[in-house]
Symmetry: C2
Subunit: 366 residues, 2 copies
Amino acid sequence: MSRKPTEQGTGRPGIRQVAELAGVGIASVSRVLSGQPGSSTQLTERVLEAARQLGYAPNVLAQSLRRRTTQSIGFVCADITNPLLSSIVAGAESALSSAGYSVLVTNSGGVAAYEAERIKALLQRQVDGLILLPALENDPATLAALRSATVPIVVIDRTMPADLGAHGVLSDHEAGLGEATRHLLRLGHRRLGLAVGRHVRPSRERVRGVEAGYRALGLEPDLMVDSGMLSVEHGENAMERFLSDPRPPTAVLLGGIQLLEGALRAVRRRGLRLGDQLSLVCCDDSPLSRFHDPPVSTVHRDTALLGRRAAETLLAQIERPAPSEPLVLPTWFEARGSCGPAPAAAASTSVAAPPARRRSRKRAET
Amino acid sequence: MSRKPTEQGTGRPGIRQVAELAGVGIASVSRVLSGQPGSSTQLTERVLEAARQLGYAPNVLAQSLRRRTTQSIGFVCADITNPLLSSIVAGAESALSSAGYSVLVTNSGGVAAYEAERIKALLQRQVDGLILLPALENDPATLAALRSATVPIVVIDRTMPADLGAHGVLSDHEAGLGEATRHLLRLGHRRLGLAVGRHVRPSRERVRGVEAGYRALGLEPDLMVDSGMLSVEHGENAMERFLSDPRPPTAVLLGGIQLLEGALRAVRRRGLRLGDQLSLVCCDDSPLSRFHDPPVSTVHRDTALLGRRAAETLLAQIERPAPSEPLVLPTWFEARGSCGPAPAAAASTSVAAPPARRRSRKRAET
DNA sequence: TTGAAAGCGTTACCAC
DNA sequence: GTGGTAACGCTTTCAA
């Protein structure tokens, strides 16, 4: 050894320091510490002891550069602030970090331009995979960024162009809304309002679910759809629009929890009693839905599971890439007090009345 | 060139490919692409063109290894699922990624053992700094992990041992609870209930705030404190405990949004009318608080700002480490319908009555 | 102004 | 079994 390369004055100890202290070769240290077989117990122990003594921790950056895998994945999310999304993120993070992966989270705030940038940045950081919960399904910049990826991609609740080769983990929104719709129809409602987002799979599915619900009971859909940006304001506006229609729906379905507060505001302003004068269903549960008086009927799903499945799908694809069918997770309807018989219609249709619900509010005071 | 090292069959182009295509040295490519001055326009253009043509994107891993900075930070959070925390994360993420940093988020789920592990993992990934929102303030494993860090640490809303050298970004919980308390006292309440978490700064501060509120009006604190794990169940149990006390408080303060749903459950079960028979204040706003009937009085704070300030503090410390005073952000009280005059007490004390609130519910029906 | 070469801290291939 | 040593893909002296 004619020349010591790195004197490593301060700074954390490197693998060389360990090797030196243990009096072994640097390669042996690497072998022992990364748990590869084929080292004598002798050597193994000396290395371990030296590492412990120096408080050595490997530099993952260098490992990743060499091993060509970073054990990290990127999670691109439109809005972590949304409790639904954050629970998806949490579900995924938990599964991923149990598997030894780190998660790089980026919050695009729904701005498509950012989204593409963040995706590129993650790719340059050499993430081993990507989980996406994008605002849009067809933003050209985002798609371009994704196309340049060579790592597996899992998309949650979105349908991206097939040529991306992305793997899907989806919620079966159609089923839940079908259930909800049939419930409402059996209560005698005939005209429904539905507020949804724009240009994303869940919105399309929800519309289809409601229409399917009508057809399942042999009825022709009589549906007002309002699509917007899924905000509190959107909720309020949509509800206003529904209620001021010449032929207003007697029941409204909200395709997103962000709509609830605004919608309730409009309902309250009009002094309408939910479950009586107007029935309401909201997609995804929340404390507000559970605790509102009356509680708001809900189309449920397990969001943490959605995140976990996305993580598992990604890990499987990282391990062994292969084409895959989208994974579809269930959605189910829970009737609560916000749904009641249609106001003026005493079940005059041929459809069977629903099993009597436990509510029995005096409907006086109107 | 006697030997071509990397033939780079497939895989993404490296800096060498760019250099070769541009017919320049590898160092020049580096210089041009990282925007260093001192390259002829000639060369610059050829490099840029070649890079564009190959779709070259630098490998951040290699850059980081060489530059000894990863432009990434770690965010350790007890529970992203909590809307408050997720909005803090979002605030920080936004500031950090604008500054070109990536954020590694880990969700400890409040399990201290995980927390320490995740911190170590982040450190091995050579993050340039750490933002912490830990479950506990004094977990030995977590502290040990943190002590081994050589990068700046910012702690949000926690007081960690001083020898850590961590920088603090805090909320002034004491002020908000003082305000709330004075409001309640002026309404004639004399005995208050306070539910808080365990062993964390916000809880201590909240207790102090309430006590200070009493003293500010020349009163001796008459306070029931219930500390627990800040869950829905905790909220329910605490409220039950308060209400079944031989001398029950006439107003309750909840030190955390997670408590609200449970507390309201207990209130409803007892058939108590908020703002009449019982007054209620909750720390941090939520749709449920805003939309409850009556709306729940709230101690507000700007959580996104908290995250942003944490990020800014960290960036400043990364840039130029220096001792710092904790940054304290404001908290303020908003009275809503859930607070009313103390039931049996007709302001018989010397304290001035509050400015009449606009509520005027008929308090019959009891 | 430009380029060769020496690392950054690892891993993995080869000889010994 | 063990230990050189050549990469991994980049940045940064240092000479030219």
